[in-house]
């Protein structure tokens, strides 16, 4: 295959994701495999580069949360095909995020946006929804071998439930296993430090960057 043909295949993969087309993304990923293009290059240049474009589109109001959901579906489907062609010893597993709004708080808009940003940024995301107990966060994070627990709160009076998650992690000896990041309307950097969180984002964009930093992932 020529470089031009390889580049074309990668562009097709990126375009399929940017058109939120899961079937086209699967076909494009299969073509990448058939052309024997390095799947790791395809994941970086075809799949993850699409996420940067999607976030920019969202910021400009050119795509919506459901588009991020559909793009995430397409990325996951393409990712499975590409990862299957990577030799087992070279596979680096996806980073896993468990996210939710803490106990006694039903606010979801900001949390949903962050969850979609994570997903379209190539993370495996487990969204537990709203009003989530500390034990549920810890249980899911343990079951999924998560890298990050992301906590959201929009009420001053539900902020303490973020601290409860960290304290429960400490009490069961799992604090070092997961990175905890926090965000939401009443949350400040000072509060994050006070409760011993590993990271804080003032908004969705910063939240993703902070997560990448603490996991040692370079940005796109």
């Amino acid at each position: 295959m020529t470089n031009g043909e390889n580049q074309g295949a990668l562009e097709n993969l990126k375009d399929a994701i940017l058109q939120y087309d899961t079937e086209a993304a699967k076909a494009a990923a299969q073509k990448v495999v058939d052309q024997k293009i390095d799947p790791k290059i395809a994941i970086n240049e075809g799949v993850l580069s699409a996420s940067t474009i999607l976030h920019e589109r969202f910021e400009r109001g050119e795509c919506f949360i459901p588009h991020l959901v559909m793009a995430g579906d397409a990325m996951e489907a393409a990712g499975y095909i590409l990862e299957a062609s990577i030799p087992k010893e070279q596979i680096t597993s996806k980073k896993v995020v468990v996210i939710g709004t803490v106990e006694a708080d039903l606010h979801s808009v900001g949390k949903n946006i962050v969850a979609m940003f994570f997903r379209s940024g190539g993370f495996e995301v487990h969204d537990l929804g709203v009003n989530v107990k500390a034990s549920s966060f810890i249980s899911k994070a343990t079951d999924t071998n998560a890298d990050i627990i992301a906590l959201s709160s929009l009420l001053t009076t539900t902020r303490p439930y973020m601290r409860e998650v960290i304290e429960e992690l400490e009490s069961v000896g799992l604090r070092d296993k997961f990175k905890v990041i926090v965000g939401g309307g009443p949350i400040t950097r000072e509060w994050a430090q006070e409760i011993g969180a590993d990271g804080y984002g003032t908004d969705a964009y910063e939240g993703i960057e902070v997560a990448k930093q603490i996991l040692g992932i370079s940005g796109n």
């Binding site: 910021e59 919506f64 006694a104 900001g110 303490p160 409860e164």
Partner: protein, 365 residues
């Protein structure tokens, strides 16, 4: 008219659906309705809607959504289904006006009309956290404003020097909030002024506990019981609504809003969603007041400055006109802003909203 108990039963027994499936179904339905009813920003780019048929179409699209798709109960994962006849019967049952407060502080809340001579209703909210020392004084200061018609509650992180954490403290803090509100309005010489409880959080026990005629919430006071984004309701809210309905206090939907860029899709979907969630407040909680409009989801994703968008104002005017032309719902709009605090665009946005809200026949909050 369907009772709240009937609604509660449907939330418990309706068809089951996964939340993600609901979200994406909402997106598809709103897209279809936007196209079918032509809910699009006109080419001549008006600031306010001047086309009655646009408002009528948006209202019909909202009714079609409620009939065909329903309302999602987040706690049970079930859909509350309604027929067109039931919905229209419920809409007919909305009060034309509502009296809040007691004695000389009674105020009448009602829909406004353009060129109406009555003053706008002003209903300040204190949703930022205050210390317990300041709380009654802040309330007193606002209650001293003669045009204030009722006051929305405060938020705080400590009570009696203790952090509010755990159900017992949350219940106690809810009762204290109500008593501080009552003390504040009494200190201002307006003991009958209505207060609307801003819940400490959304557990039923915390929302019901402050009911107490002498030192807590009276039947002439109110509570914020909001519909959740993406046309979702919740059982603790339904429980509280049932108790409050019997008690007699008024209920307020703080989310009559559509979110551009959310699961409703673009501007047209956000208008339809705003009408749907406003109606849902009445249908599921019997909210008699609602504040809302059309907001941008990108404002929730970023803390950067976001200038006021004329399309959002146009969209909010369609929302307001649709509800005024077809219901008695008393709807408000906040003079809050999308822009960051203290920046030039925030001042411009606030001025713009202060001018635009009465122009949309709305009331301030």
């Amino acid at each position: 008219m369907l009772s709240l108990l009937e609604i509660a039963e449907r939330a418990q027994k309706g068809p089951k659906m996964d939340e993600n499936a609901w979200n994406m179904g909402l997106f598809r339905a709103m897209n279809e309705l936007t196209q079918k009813y032509g809910i699009l920003y006109p080419d001549d780019q008006p600031v306010f809607n001047c086309d009655d048929s646009m408002a009528d179409n948006a209202f019909e699209a909202a009714i079609e959504f409620l009939v065909d798709t329903g309302i999602y109960c987040l706690s049970t994962g079930r859909i509350i289904q309604l027929t067109r006849t039931e919905i229209m019967d419920l809409i007919k049952g909305m009060p034309k006006q509502y009296a809040v407060g007691e004695g000389k502080d009674v105020r009448i809340l009602k829909q406004r009309r353009l060129e109406e001579k009555d003053e706008l209703n002003h209903c300040p909210g204190h949703h930022a956290p205050f210390s317990e020392e300041l709380a009654p004084l802040v309330i007193k200061s606002f209650a001293e404003i003669p045009t204030c018609d009722y006051l929305e509650g405060i938020n705080f992180s400590e009570v009696d020097g203790r952090e509010i954490f755990g159900l017992p403290m949350e219940v106690y803090a809810g009762k204290r909030e109500a008593s501080w509100m009552r003390q504040g309005v009494a200190k201002a010489g307006r003991p009958g002024l209505a207060v609307a409880y801003y819940p400490i959080n959304t557990r039923a026990a915390v929302m019901i506990a402050p009911i107490a005629r002498e030192f807590g919430l009276r039947p002439s006071d109110g509570i914020l019981l909001s519909v959740l984004p993406d046309v979702k309701v919740e059982q603790d809210y339904i429980t509280t609504a049932i108790v409050w309905e019997e008690y007699g206090g008024f209920k307020l939907n703080g989310n009559g809003s559509g979110f551009v860029g959310g699961f409703c899709g673009g501007l047209g979907g956000a208008i339809i969603e705003a009408i749907v969630v406003t109606l849902t407040g009445w249908i599921v909680y019997r909210d008699i007041l609602c504040w809302g409009g059309v907001l941008s989801s990108s404002a929730f994703a970023s803390t950067k400055e976001i200038p006021a968008n004329p399309t959002d104002v146009w969209a909010a005017s369609v929302w307001a006109q649709a509800l005024h032309r077809h219901t008695n719902y008393i709807i408000f709009m906040a003079t809050g802003s999308h822009s960051g605090p203290g920046c030039e665009t925030q001042l411009l946005e606030l001025a713009f909203r202060a001018i635009s809200i009465p122009s949309m026949e709305l009331t301030f909050i």
